[in-house]
């Protein structure tokens, strides 16, 4: 009995923290069902009217499509460039390697706000207007450090004798890369692609500086709408996002196993 009490206290504390973690997400999901014209929790009445209302707000759909496009572009390019760089860093000897490793990791040390202002100024000088390409370039810089960390980790424990065997059997460099190397480092590369997609899709800070009136990503749309409007439409938009994330998670879990993705991030 004497031993039980602290144990119960400990479990109670942990439960409170798990509730704390889920609280804002659950609140958004539940508030979206309110029948009132303002946001209230717990919701009053039960209706899907704020989901139907989205029909009158095509701008959210446009922003969603733009965000998906930008995130896909970022994820593809960032993963490709990151993989090439990782191969150079892990397998090649060259001067200035440490400098390049530090350069590539440095976006993590620069506050996104500062990078956003810098890009805004630079873009306006070279005359690059707000566009998906302008956003993708900014997001590549933000996501490269993550991709690198994941791909480098999967390259380090790589048994190169398999590649050697393939080459001895007459396979060319490209063939070895696509048929041997890539399948083996697959999990690192896919995890990198997923994390850069999420980072890009979620980015508010850098995008806030680059967007214009007709090129607006979803986080920026939600952020600006939230500051001037108080109707619950944001809760329905957010709920759809949360549900999409959950569906995406389940798919990833089925294909890769979540544990694996997170485990590789943790390295």
């Amino acid at each position: 009995m004497k031993k039980r009490l602290p144990k119960i206290g400990f479990h109670f504390f942990c439960t409170i923290i798990y509730v704390f973690l889920l609280a804002p997400i659950v609140v958004v999901l539940m508030s979206s069902l309110t029948a009132t014209d303002y946001i209230v929790f717990p919701p009053k009445g039960l209706t899907l009217r704020w989901y139907v209302e989205l029909v009158n707000h095509p701008e959210f759909m446009q922003s969603f499509m733009l965000s998906v496009f930008v995130a896909l572009g970022t994820s593809l390019i960032s993963t490709a460039i990151g993989t090439l760089t990782s191969i150079a860093i892990v397998r090649h000897q060259f001067k200035g390697k440490t400098a390049i490793v530090q350069l590539v990791g440095s976006p993590l040390l620069i506050p996104s706000v500062v990078f956003g202002v810098a890009l805004l100024q630079f873009y306006s000088w070279i005359g690059l207007a707000a566009s998906p390409a302008a956003l993708i370039i900014g997001h590549i810089i933000l996501t490269i450090p993550f991709v690198m960390r994941l791909v480098v980790a999967s390259l380090v424990g790589f048994d190169r004798s398999i590649e050697q065997a393939a080459m001895n059997l007459g396979a060319g460099k490209f063939r070895v890369f696509f048929q041997i190397t890539l399948p083996i480092i697959k999990s690192g590369v896919i995890a990198g692609a997923i994390f850069s997609f999420i980072t890009s899709f979620d980015d508010l800070t850098v995008a806030l500086f680059i967007v214009s009136t007709d090129v607006v990503t979803l986080p920026v749309r939600i952020f600006t709408y939230m500051q001037y409007q108080y109707d619950p439409i944001i809760t329905s938009v957010s709920s759809i996002m949360i549900l999409l994330t959950i569906v995406l998670m389940i798919i990833i879990e089925r294909v890769l196993g979540v544990g694996k993705v997170f485990a590789s991030k943790n390295q």
Partner: protein, 293 residues
């Protein structure tokens, strides 16, 4: 000899071909913009064109000599410190709980702790603003319990920013502490128990010291992310609780005073770097301490 040399140059060519894309994109869209912004921070402000062509250090002097702005620096650091401390205190038990759990439950708990990372930060902060608003859940509960008569101002305060920040950064700390907890050799703990130490003593003289590196690594990460974070203070603090990143945004994007915004930005980088260096100095010293014990 000739052939060997040719082979070497070929290999080098390959290296630079692999590195070319990243160098182009980092030089043109990362280093150059930051360099130009640094130069801008030493220019004077001109209301019509934004940046006037005169050199000055006034932007930095103005910031560092005005008590209002220094107050914002202090608030930024204070919020980051509070966030770090609270995150350590609440993530340790959770990390412990998860690393003790087994099999399926462990996977689900890990997923539960990490899943917030996958949901948009804007949406999570928005959820907190619903919870903490004047007629939000927290105030309504407290009022129905009769603990307070009128709603407390929770939203747009330093408290709401810290709550949001802890929520956003918590998973990083848990991951970091879990990493060092799982590296502990179970035989060390058995040895301590065999020598007669109770669970409490084992925890404080074996487990805790061995996880200090994880705590430090996690806190460097949480501190540097929170000192420069923008989304959480912008949504949960707004103009009422200005921090440095918000100030830089406001100057550059709203008031269009780029030189001043740039100077604030570089001071923010400076403060973040200094604290990280100080932190790692403490870290080195404490690790020595652990080794001696």
């Amino acid at each position: 000899m000739m052939q060997k040399k040719r082979k070497k140059t070929k290999k080098q060519l390959e290296t630079w071909a692999l590195l070319l894309p990243i160098l182009v994109i980092f030089i043109f869209f990362f280093l150059l913009p930051l360099f130009f912004l640094f130069i801008t921070s030493f220019k004077t402000f001109d209301a019509s064109s934004g940046i006037a062509n005169e050199w000055t250090i006034q932007n930095y002097v103005k910031f560092l000599s005005d008590p209002f702005y220094l107050g914002i620096v202090w608030r930024t650091v204070k919020i980051a410190l509070l966030t770090t401390i609270i995150t350590i205190v609440i993530s340790y038990p959770v990390a412990f709980h998860i690393s003790k759990a087994n099999g399926r439950i462990k996977n689900y708990l890990t997923l539960l702790v990490l899943s917030p990372l996958l949901i948009s930060m804007v949406i999570r902060c928005y959820g907190w603003s619903i919870l903490l608003s004047n007629n939000g859940v927290v105030n309504n509960t407290l009022m129905s319990l009769g603990w307070i008569d009128k709603p407390l101002t929770l939203l747009y305060t330093e408290l709401s920013v810290v709550i949001g920040m802890v929520h956003v950064l918590f998973p990083y700390m848990v991951l970091s502490i879990m990493g060092s907890l799982e590296r502990i050799d179970p035989s060390v703990i058995r040895a301590s128990q065999n020598l007669g130490a109770g669970p409490v003593r084992t925890f404080f003289s074996i487990v805790l010291p061995l996880t200090l590196p994880g705590i430090f690594a996690g806190s460097v990460m949480v501190f540097s992310l929170s000192v420069s974070s923008f989304v959480t203070p912008a949504i949960l603090g707004g103009p009422q609780v200005k921090v440095m990143s918000y100030l830089a945004y406001e100057q550059a994007a709203v008031l269009l005073n780029w030189p001043y915004g740039a100077a604030i930005g570089f001071l923010l980088i400076f403060i973040a770097t200094i604290t990280i260096i100080m932190y790692s100095k403490i870290l080195v010293r404490s690790e020595k301490g652990v080794a001696i014990q």
